[in-house]
């Protein structure tokens, strides 16, 4: 940008037109890309080990060289993880629970993100006496290891007649997703300038119309973050999915747990890695596809306009 200014200022007739081409190897670029690359190696290293291990046969793994690429590539572990691995006597791998996971994921994510966004919106712009107190109590929830709450919630659901049902599980996910996501939205909305809100009120807009017409479009990045948190948390959840449901509702993580966590049996590391990678694919796809929404200027534009 500084280059542009200098260019414009010189005004000589022999000036090349358009912005000065940035040197690819400019100092700033080297620092930026270099750092990113080095850091990316730290992040990517375990993934490399996992992929490489999942393509090896067990004898090769027993030899112990975790970083070396497979001498003979085999996709058998992946096939086994998906459709042959045994969960007790059911030997149909991860595929058994896949659709259950989807059935649990979709309502849980939609409802928890929706509720949290409304909570955050109401907490920052429609406060009432005592609302912050409830919010603080909610924040306690973020810090409790949720296993501690297992039995009281089992008893609660039993009394409500919801124990073992999909509804019960969705409610549990919504409840436990509330603290962090509400905080996320509340703090995001808190940083939106007051004038916007007041202008809308003067125009006569009410609670819901401000939310849908003004706040929602402005807060796409934070919706994406909330989506990421909830999709990851709910897709990877094991304990709630196995305790608050019944057999026919068990999510994929139950099969994953059975594949990787057998205590007294033989451990097939390649199948474990393949199974973990397969399970991680859904959140990964969402991460990658969400890039379009991490766009700058949505909020900025609204302020100016």
């Amino acid at each position: 940008m500084v280059d542009m200014a200098t260019n414009a200022a010189s005004g000589s007739a022999l000036n090349p037109r358009g912005p000065k081409p940035k040197k690819v190897f400019s100092r700033a670029n080297i620092i930026v890309y270099g750092t990113l690359f080095v850091v990316a190696v730290y992040y990517a290293l375990p993934l490399y080990v996992m992929i490489v291990t999942s393509l090896k046969g067990m004898p090769e793994i027993r030899m112990g060289n975790i970083f070396s690429p497979p001498m003979e590539i085999t996709f058998q572990p992946w096939v086994k993880a998906w459709q042959e691995a045994c969960t007790g006597i059911n030997c149909d791998g991860l595929s058994r629970g896949f659709w259950n996971s989807v059935r649990i994921l979709i309502p849980s994510v939609i409802i928890s993100v929706a509720v949290a966004s409304v909570n955050g919106y109401a907490l920052s712009m429609w406060k009432f006496k005592g609302s912050e107190v409830f919010f603080t109590i909610l924040m306690i929830g973020a810090f409790i290891p949720y296993q501690v709450m297992l039995y009281p919630i089992v008893i609660l659901l039993r009394e409500a007649g919801l124990y073992g049902s999909l509804t019960g599980l969705v409610l549990v996910h919504v409840a436990f997703g509330m603290p962090i996501n509400t905080l996320l939205f509340r703090n995001y909305f808190a940083s939106i300038p007051d004038e916007l809100f007041k202008a809308a009120r003067v125009d006569g807009a009410g609670f819901w119309s401000i939310f849908f017409r003004i706040m929602l479009p402005m807060s796409l990045p934070i919706f994406v973050v909330s989506l990421i948190i909830q999709v990851t948390g709910i897709w990877n959840d094991f304990l709630f999915g196995v305790i608050f449901t019944s057999q026919d509702l068990y999510p994929m993580t139950v099969q994953l747990n059975n594949i990787v966590n057998s205590v007294q049996g033989v451990k097939e590391y390649n199948v474990n890695m393949a199974a973990t990678l397969i399970t991680g694919l859904v959140p990964l796809i969402i991460y990658f596809a969400s890039g379009k929404l991490f766009v700058r200027g949505i909020a900025a534009g609204a302020v100016k306009g």
Binding site: M1, T35, L36, V39, Y43, P46, V49, M50, G64, F67, V118, Y121, L123, W126, F128, F135, T136, I137, L138, M139, I140, A142, F143, I144, P145, Q147, V148, M149, Y151, P152, I153, L156, V174, A175, M178, P179, I180, L183, L184, Y188, A190, S191, D194, F207, W208, V224, I228, I229, V260, Y269, N272, M273, T276, Y287, G291, F294, R296, A299, A300, K304
Partner: protein, 312 residues
């Protein structure tokens, strides 16, 4: 606004019954109704669950919760347990380092990614994917990577540096750092995303103004941008803090609390006592103490956050 309406009505209806002040309960009804799920969850589940836990920590519940009081016995046993004391020390060390390093790494990465670089999607996914993978297996992989025989130490020694030492997981003094390496790997990606979302919400004009004023890039970040992102930092802090308190899966997967009990953490103490030792009372006592400690740290923050005026 309501009062103004009331006032105008009063002037036009002089013979009407005296107008009562608007019922405070009805004000902002939509807001209150919209927050109902949150209020119910907070009261019934979190407050109710917490009270239930505290009450049962004064019992001798074993496998099933039962109301057989035994006073402070669980707490006495808790505080005379070496494992518990080690857990707290470990968590304090891990917590402080995790907060500082996560914020630093996440912000730096977010700032770098924010600069309209190529392959942003790829980089962002690489930094974020650890968050997606279940910890049982990634913990195992880090265990392998940090293993002295066939992990990094082995490889570097094989390359010639015979005395290279990088064995955090089997050294009781530095095992928490080994855990930190994997923990940062898993947690920084999400914080980076939150910071990125926050950065993307900052008006371009701010940048232009800073440039016009001649402030260097790094200084702009530190002096101008970070203060503007205070809510984002608060959110990140809470997320990191919550993750630290709940630290359990990572420890089980990487070190099982070892060597010995040198990498035990409070959440693991709670879990092992509740389900392994089938001693709910002791587990509840431990989790109550965890909550007390969280309170002690949170109260000053809450006062700062909610005490003073916030908006505007």
């Amino acid at each position: 606004m309501a009062l103004a309406e009331e006032a105008s009505r009063k002037t036009t209806r002089p013979d009407a019954a005296p107008i009562r002040r608007p019922n405070r309960w009805l004000k902002n009804m939509t807001g209150k109704v919209a927050m109902l799920p949150m209020i119910l969850t907070a009261l019934v589940i979190f407050l109710g669950g917490t009270i239930w836990t505290i009450v049962y920590s004064f019992t001798d519940s074993g496998l099933l919760p039962r109301l057989r009081w035994n006073g402070l016995a669980q707490y006495e046993r808790l505080w005379s347990s070496r494992k518990w004391l080690v857990s707290i020390e470990n968590l304090a060390l891990y917590g402080v380092l995790s907060v500082i390093l996560t914020l630093f790494i996440a912000f730096t990465l977010a700032a770098l990614l924010d600069r309209k670089i190529r392959f942003e999607d790829a980089f962002r996914t690489i930094f974020l994917y650890p968050f997606a993978l279940s910890f049982i297996v990634t913990g195992l992989v880090w265990q392998w990577i940090l293993n002295p025989e066939f992990g990094i130490q082995g490889i570097v020694r094989g390359m010639g540096w015979e005395t290279f030492n990088f064995d955090p997981l089997y050294n009781p003094n530095i095992v928490m750092y080994g855990l930190l390496i994997a923990g940062l790997w898993q947690g920084t990606g999400l914080i980076m995303c939150i910071m990125l979302a926050g950065l993307r919400g900052i008006d371009d004009d701010i940048w232009k103004a800073a440039r016009v004023d001649g402030i260097g890039t790094v200084k702009t970040y530190v002096v101008v941008i970070i203060p503007m992102m205070r809510p984002v930092f608060v959110t990140s802090l809470v997320l990191i803090g919550a993750g630290i308190v709940k630290l359990y899966d990572l420890v089980v997967a990487q070190t099982s609390g070892g060597p010995g009990i040198s990498s035990e953490v409070p959440a693991k103490y709670v879990m092992n006592t509740m389900f392994g030792g089938q001693n709910l009372g002791q587990g509840f006592a431990a989790s109550t103490m965890m909550m007390v400690m969280v309170f002690i740290i949170l109260i000053p923050w809450a006062y700062l956050e909610f005490g003073g005026k916030k908006r505007g």
